[in-house]
Amino acid sequence: MPRVTVQVRDAAGNTATAAADYNLSQPVLGGYYLSGGADPTADMAGGNFRSLTQYRSFADGYIFPGYNRPWLVSLGKAGVQMNMVLELKHYGSPNHGPQSFTVDGTSYTVPAPAMTIQQRPGTTFPRAYGYGQVLSGQCDGLFARALSQYRTLGFGVNIQLASEFDTDHEFGTTEDGKTYTWAESDARAVQAVNYILTWFKARSLPANTTFSVGLAGFDRACFQRTHPESLMARLDFLQWNAYGTNASHTALARFRRTKDWAVADLGPVALSRPVIIAEWGVRSAEIPNQAAWIATVPAAIAQLNAERGPRIARTNYFNSGWGTLTPKATGLAALRAAYATRPYV
C-alpha cells in the first residue's frame, strides 16, 4: 500500500509528521453476454473484454463448461473472468421429472422440482427446485454433479446463486402447494443459499472460487432482505443488474440506484465487497441511440467508484433481451470504445 508522508519543519528543526495511505484499484473489467449463451468469442476478439456472464440450471447435466461449449474453457484459460450464474430454476426442457445419475461413483436420485417462481399473473410459472428441497438435502446430487464438472474446468469462477431473486420472488412462490409471500421467499432463499454455500465450502474447490447471490436490484427491501451480514460474510461480491429502458434513464442513475440502497441499508461486511454487474444494457425501443448511451457508461462507473461505497469491479453487457444491440455492429463498436476508456483500462 503506497503511503504519502508529510513533514513540517520549523526554523529550529522541530518537526511534525503525518501520513496517509492509499490503494490503487485495478481497472474495471469490461464484460459481455451473448444471447442464448452462444459463443461470444468472435464478438470479444480484439476488444478489451475481460469478463463474461453465463447461465446454467442445476437441473442441467452439463453445467461446466456447458453442453457443447468448449469455447468457455478457452476464454477462461485466456484469463476472462467467469461469472457463472447457477440457478435452482428449471429451464423448462421437456423432462422436468426426477433424475437419477452417478457422480464419481456415487448414485443420486433427485426428485422433480417442486417450486414455482416468477408467478406473474397471466404467465406460465417456471419450475424450480424448492428451497425446502435444498434444505432437506434432496438437491445434493445436483451440487455434486456441478462440482465434479467444475473441478475439471481448469480455472476458478464466481458462482452466482440465482439470476435475480427479486424477479423470482416478486409475485411470491409456491412449493409443494404452499404459497409464500415475496418476503417469505427471500428468507427461504437466504437459508437455501447458506445451505449451498456450506455444501460447496466443505469440499475442495478450484483456486479463486468466489460466490455471490443474484439480484436484479430493482427492489430496495428485497435487496436488504437478501444481503444479511451473516450471509455476506460468506460471499465475495455484491451483484446487481442495470438497464436503461426509458428515454429519461441515464447510465449514472441506473448503475447507482441499487448502489445507493446498498450504501444506505447494508452492513460493513456487505459494503466491503466489490460489485459484479452481471448484466447491463440499454433497450433500443426507448433509447434508439444505444451507442451514445453506452459511451456514457465509463464516466458513470468512474464517478460511482470515486464515491463512498462498494467498488464496481466488473460490468457485463447483456447482448440479449432488453440489451440486444441493434444494429449489432454499431452497438459492439460502442462497447469496444467504452471498454477502451478509463476506468476499463
Binding site: R3, V4, V6
Partner: protein, 89 residues
C-alpha cells in the same frame, strides 16, 4: 520554540490508475506569526516619505511531501496553514 503540528488527508483511499489524487496538508506552529513592518523615511527637514509595508513570518514552516511509491506531488496552493498537493494515480 513550539513544535509544529500537521495532518494529511487524501481525497479518497482508493484510486483508479490515472486518477487525480489530492492531498490536503493542514499545519501550524504556535510560534509562526505573520508580521508587517512599515517603513517611513524622514529627512532632517521633517519631510517624510510615503509609508512602505513589508511582510515577514516569524519561524516559517517548510512542508515536505514524500511518497513510498515514488510518485511526485506538486503543490497546488498553500496559504500558510493549508497546503494542497496533487499527484496522479
Amino acid at each position: 520554540m513550539a513544535a509544529p503540528t500537521a495532518t494529511a488527508a487524501l481525497n479518497a483511499s482508493v484510486f483508479a490508475p490515472g486518477d487525480q489524487m489530492l492531498l490536503t496538508v493542514t499545519y501550524s506552529d504556535a510560534d509562526t506569526k505573520p508580521l508587517t513592518v512599515t517603513v517611513v523615511v524622514t529627512d532632517a527637514q521633517g519631510n517624510s516619505s510615503a509609508p512602505v509595508k513589508v511582510t515577514a513570518v516569524i519561524d516559517p514552516l517548510t512542508v515536505t511531501v514524500t511518497d513510498s511509491s515514488g510518485r511526485t506531488w506538486t503543490r497546488v496552493s498553500d496559504n500558510g496553514s493549508v497546503a494542497v498537493y496533487r499527484s496522479v494515480a
